[in-house]
Amino acid sequence: MKTYEEVLQDCALADDRIVVMTAENRAAIRTLPPQLGERFIDVGIAEQTMIGAAAGLALRGRIPIVHALATFLTLRAFEFIRDDVGIAGLPVKLVGGVPGFLSDGNGPTHQAIEDISLMRGIPNMQVFAPADMDDLASTLPTILNSPHPCYIRYPASTPTQVERTVYDIGRSEHVANGNDVTILTYGFLLREALVAKRILEQHSISAGVIDVRWLKPFDWEGILPLVRHSGLAVTFEDHFLTGGLFSILSEALVRNELSVPVLPIALEERWFKPGLLPDVLAFEGFTGAHLAERIRARFDKRPLSPKRTVHQEAVGIG
């Protein structure tokens, strides 16, 4: 299995339209400067200039793939992404480092937990949140060939050991079957969701797991049939409750006139406690064990009725 860096290098060496850029954040692309020469462009700590320049390069037919920490990329340079990439519809690929809980001990300034909400609001922007390097590296060539801009949540390096069948844009991966509850997640939290599935099995709760992969385009055709036939959908994400997977699923359900109970697990109106990743997960209640516990509590407290609506779940009525 090749790494992200190796696949990017292969793609760039095979296609001289590809330009690798960074705002002086080389963690994911350390080996590329000598390989790509002048097609490796580091603008320094200047995210706005990086995005503007990427738009200019794309106007000239290049395919820029830019790298910065997810917060600085999506927040500092947001208007440049919206105006120069979004309005023009240019195929600039945006790679955000240490998104969500992966910012570890950096603190709230570095917590990209509204990035999906922001990026999916830009017309024609694709939003990809792979669970691991395997998915990212394998899907990367397709992303680079797409005519649309794309935001990529750069994943943790630990493999999820999931057997994959799809590497397409806009397709989810149905990772595990289960009838009582369907857990929807993205990014490295897939690992915790699989842990939760195993724990729930011991308590005779059958949990399906979907690796959503793409927040936009969202695979509602693949996901909604699974969700509507299980007793409960759980959205599990290291993102603000507002605008992320819970919002996306809710919108898809309402739009399709479906009424399904949804348990959202996300960061609600707050930033998370900084620390090392395992400690953050434990403190914030995002380990597989916590997830299983939340789902079990839900089953114990309120036997599920298919008549409950998304809206009631969201505001906690009933």
């Binding site: 330009v19 002048e38 097609r39 462009i41 603008v43 320094g44 200047a46 706005q48 200039t49 990086m50 995005i51 503007g52 320049a53 990427a54 738009a55 200019g56 390069l57 794309a58 106007l59 000239r60 037919g61 290049r62 820029p64 208007e79 440049f80 105006d83 120069d84 309005i87 023009a88």
Partner: protein, 283 residues
Amino acid sequence: MNDLALRVREHIIRMATDGGCFIGASLSCADLLVYLYSEVLNVSPDRVHDPDRDYLLLSKGHDVPALYGTLAELGYFPKDRLKNHLRTNDSIYWHPNRAVPGVEFHSGSLGHLLSVGIGIAMDLKLRKASNRVFVLLGDGELNEGSVWEGMLTAAAYKLDNMIAIVDRNEFQANIRTEALIPLEPLSPKFEAMGWNAVRTDGHDFEALHRAFSELPNESKRSNEPKKPTVIIADTVRGKGLPGIERRADRWFVNFTHDEIRMLLEELHGNAQARLTSDTLMVR
């Protein structure tokens, strides 16, 4: 060029009614755009997609009536199309849109197109192409930090194919630049950032000719340190209409048809227009 500039100003004035436009900043850069398109830019109506053309980016997009007037006069699109200003059946509005032939990129939010120009200039360097990128900046726009980011990057990447032009009309939206965030001395600021700086009168075509002849050309490029260049063009906001020149309250205007007729007379050196419209609008 004087005749062309006069006709461009007529177009600008005609766009200042039925919804209005940013007349002051448009009139201040009208001569600059006329000069660039007549004497400097290697581009023509039949080459708007030619990869070997020179690029002009309008970073302070609200002066687009001057660009549209110039492009229409030079045959990039029919002059009649200017009557579509603010009509939803076309794409001619208060800021530039690429749907109009000759417009390289949209703008509106200030401080964006220096960096877009940097990307274009970087690609030209990668291809060892000789075409150049010109970016017209407003002086008020220099308040934006992204412009200074871009200055550093353009100098770091030795983009001697990039020429910024500052329309130094001494006003930002509603106030004199020096009364708010003083910019002077401006040339030394660019020079300290690693740019060549040339200062010129922005309305005198002879002076502009002298200034632009100092741009690095092919032979100079090989011998001199490779630097981007800024041309700081001293201009007058509202230039051509003495009644509104240097007036802080004539930034965005929406005149009556009678006032437009009087302003066209004033432009041609006849009686000064009597303006009654309350035209101080903050946009």
